[in-house]
């Protein structure tokens, strides 16, 4: 590996992933190539610092938690949502927002239901009144028809010449 050809990304990663001994060609390159050596050192240092900070932070956080004892842990199932619920209960703004949203969502349905309830009784009453009048008229007509001695279709036809016969008879025929 020459000085001019820098380490590829994979080679640099392999160096970072290597636990102990670096492979000889790559180690040799790092000795002669200051660019690659600087980049490798910077990445290695950053990763080490990142680990140190994360470990220290986790240790600090762990020390401040109230851990269940093993006996408690295996006797009661830990509730995943208990801590989240606890956090939410400490958020009055969230609860107020949720209440407003719920009210806004249910208001149109409530108004619509009131309108429907108010209009609904009127319509059947009108329909019933109209039907009752119609039924009574129909029954009356049927009664009249039945009470007549001769059915209407059987009544004698009126004489179409009834009005003119007297005039004809009264006029003397002359041949």
């Amino acid at each position: 590996m020459s000085h001019q050809n820098h380490l590829t990304h994979e080679q640099l990663c392999d160096l970072l992933l290597a636990n102990s001994q670096l492979s000889e060609p790559q180690a040799q390159h790092l000795r002669v190539c200051s660019d690659c050596a600087a980049e490798y050192a910077s990445l290695r240092e950053s990763l080490t610092s990142f680990r140190s900070a994360t470990v220290a932070w986790a240790s600090h956080a762990s020390a401040n938690r109230s851990w269940s004892s093993p006996a408690q842990l295996i006797s009661t199932r830990p509730s995943r949502w208990s801590s989240i619920a606890g956090r939410l209960s400490a958020q009055p703004v969230l609860w107020a927002s949720a209440a407003v949203l719920l009210l806004a969502a249910t208001l149109p349905f409530t108004l619509h239901r009131h309108q429907t309830v108010a209009v609904a009784p009127k319509a059947p009453a009108q329909v019933q009144q109209t039907d009752r009048v119609g039924d009574e008229a129909l029954l009356e007509e049927v009664d009249q028809t039945l009470s007549s001695s001769v059915p209407t279709p059987m009544e004698p036809l009126a004489d179409p010449t009834a009005g003119r016969s007297s005039q004809i008879d009264s006029t003397p025929r002359k041949n």
Binding site: H9, W57, A58, P70, L73, S83
Partner: protein
Amino acid sequence: MSTKALATNLLSDAAPPTTVPTPFDDIASVIDTHRPRVFRFLLASLRDTDLAETLTQETFFRAWTSRSSFRGDCSVISWLTRIALNLVRDHTRTHRFQFWRRVSAQAVDATEIASFLPHPQSLAESRLIATEQVSLLWETVSELSPRQRTIFLLRFVEEMELTEIASATGIPLSTVKSHLYRALANVRARFDQTTRTAL
């Protein structure tokens, strides 16, 4: 077959199956040994102390209840990591929009994590550089894909071997390496970008 032999056979058939002892039978010892590591991994993955605590306890509870399925074909920490990973996956599936994390008062930012950097006797300048590097890495890790982030944390925080990561995640070794290459490419790109901006 003699009467005695028959009775022995009947007794052996009627006997309950013998349970193989596992390391999880002594759950107190397992918790004592591995809880800091499991909590640290969950905390670094979720960045939420309450949630990390809850999932840590659930990890050990599940390890206890399903201890009979532990065959010993991987290490205890690999098995625990696998359980923890499943819990994280379930959590992120059911909270796709990250609402709960947003409302969490426990969320941690880059400056807070960098403040935990131990540098008792270092110079102010090198301390400043290290703090900036940690902040950059913290932000870059948060932007990785969930799988890349998991593998990155297992390698560079938990210092697990690549074969161990493959065993815990169920991902082939070559894919684990590919994810690490990509994650480190993102880190390098972020560092380059910051250097160019500073110049």
